[in-house]
Amino acid sequence: MPCKVSHERLMRLHDSELSYLQALTLRRHARRCPDCRKMLTELSATDTLLQRADYFPTEIKHQPLPLRPLGLVGGLAVATGAIVFLALPGGPLRPTSSFASVEEAMGKVKTIHWKESSGGSVVWDCWADLTRRRICKQMMQGNQILQKETLKPEGWLKVIFNSPKTYFWQPLWRKEARDDYLRDHIIFSKSDPGRIESREFLGEKFTRKYSAWKKIEDIGTAEMLVFEKDLEQKTKYGNYNAKIFFWIDAETRRIIRREERSLKNNDYVCVSNDFKYNETPPPGIFEIEEPKVGEQYVYFDFSKFQKNNQRIEDEQNRKRVVGEAIATCSHRATKAFLSLWDFEAIPPEKRAARKALAQSIVENQVPYKTWKSEKIMSAHPGPTYLRKSESDPFPPLPSPYEDTVDVNVQGWVTTARTSKPYLALSTFTLTKRSGQWKIQQLQCTTEPLPHW
């Protein structure tokens, strides 16, 4: 009776294209089947002949399992081995443990220099000093630095290079957060399959769930290994699901490339590549320059705002200040309008000019007559500070400001110059000092907004 095993299946066995168990089963069959054994022998002979006639010396090829009889003890040993192979971590049914070698190799690295991009012309130039456990990321557009972030032992200090410079202080989510960042993005201090994190930021709770690392066999080669893991983040605003991929150099076991791809929005992909190891970082790269004397700057402390529970209670007070500003402006009550302002953060030499500008808003520029369909939206900026002397502390703690809020007022406006009402937007930056809200900044549209 002719054998029912197809030639294609035998060829796949010969080319190591079958799974471990499939190959094991077919080899055991071939041991008893003369047709299959003959076919396998012919395939091997043809390949051997081809290898001998090659232009180059024969390369090392993965050798298939020998076809010798296993016997009862051997069979039991193989079966036990197969169960262990499949069931234990590292087997195809469980997360691979070979990622441990990546963790180990990355753990020996001292510095890493890499590039990170989410598309477009903006590229992050990133450095990590793993001995000092410091990270620096610089957002570059060409040679210009737009933003710089450094990871200090207690949290992230960020600066946006606009005018005035804006500093952000973001404390660590929790004690191990620094390690989390290093582990998730750069180094892997420990295997942590199925890790779930619960965090709180600005009063909002959210959870992050990471799957274990899985090795992607069909992309990886002898030279490069590819691993993936899933990230699932849940917030009350919605979920974020992503896949994180790592390309690993098979020889050095170091990262070559990292990708984070959003599963919901295919457009978002964050790529880290061009990894260089153990380079000497430029001097001072992990420091952020403090504001100079006489320089204005904005400082926003997330930890302080996170604890502030009085924001909602204060809403009526903020609305009252905005209402008074509009009313005094509309009635050209210059003195009352100026009394609503905080000029502390204005350099003394510019203070008179700023007062004159505020006065001109009332008297000339924006003589609002009416506001209709008023809509107030709040955002959370940082207060503006003035570095008066070298002895002024930076970060500016304790801050004289209890809170800062941006209030956007949108409404239909008529002015002395316009016969028809138009839609305008004003942004009041209000700061609270000694329990009293004052205006620090005011921006108004000079042109009508599009009607939406």
Partner: protein, 165 residues
């Protein structure tokens, strides 16, 4: 300036040079095996490098870099072969590594007699030791086509080389 360097210099991604230097030898070997001529392979590998340098910025790294290089190599050799005169010998016995030149010649004659698509699949599977999926990716053909071409190529070779086997 060397066209390879010129193309590489124009690239925003310097990782091309690293990738190319790592796989250049493999690409060269593939071209020798597909053309049967080391002299032609030198020129063709240069041409492949230029094309790869131009294509590399669009390479998103979802597969291995060598699959991109192999794909370009197979296409370039195909184009080159279509421009050759049919009388040009495919064999180049100077570079035989076999101890038995007669067998080597017989094998290469049998190999060169195969249809090009079958020979390419066979070279990628046997010499380059690519998996079926990788071959399918390089040649942009379905997995089933890879298996059928490979089976036919081996069958044909067995028939041609029955004496040697």
């Amino acid at each position: 300036m060397n066209p390879v360097l010129a193309a590489a210099e124009a690239l925003p991604n310097p990782s091309f040079e690293r990738s190319w230097s790592r796989h250049r030898e493999r690409v060269f070997r593939l071209v020798v095996r597909l053309t049967g001529s080391r002299e032609h392979a030198d020129d063709l590998t240069q041409e492949i490098a230029v094309q790869a340098a131009q294509a590399f910025p669009r390479f998103r790294g979802q597969a291995q870099a060598f699959t991109l290089f192999y794909r370009i190599a197979v296409r370039t050799v195909g184009r080159w072969r279509s421009q050759q005169r049919p009388t040009e010998p495919l064999l180049d016995c100077h570079y035989a590594s076999s101890d038995d030149p007669t067998t080597a010649l017989a094998v290469r004659t049998a190999l060169s007699a195969l249809p090009e698509e079958q020979r390419t699949v066979l070279v990628l599977a046997v010499y380059e030791q690519l998996s079926y999926k990788e071959i399918a990716h390089v040649l942009e053909i379905p997995l089933g086509t890879v298996m059928s071409r490979l089976a036919r190529a081996r069958q044909q070779l067995r028939k041609e080389l029955s004496d040697a086997l």
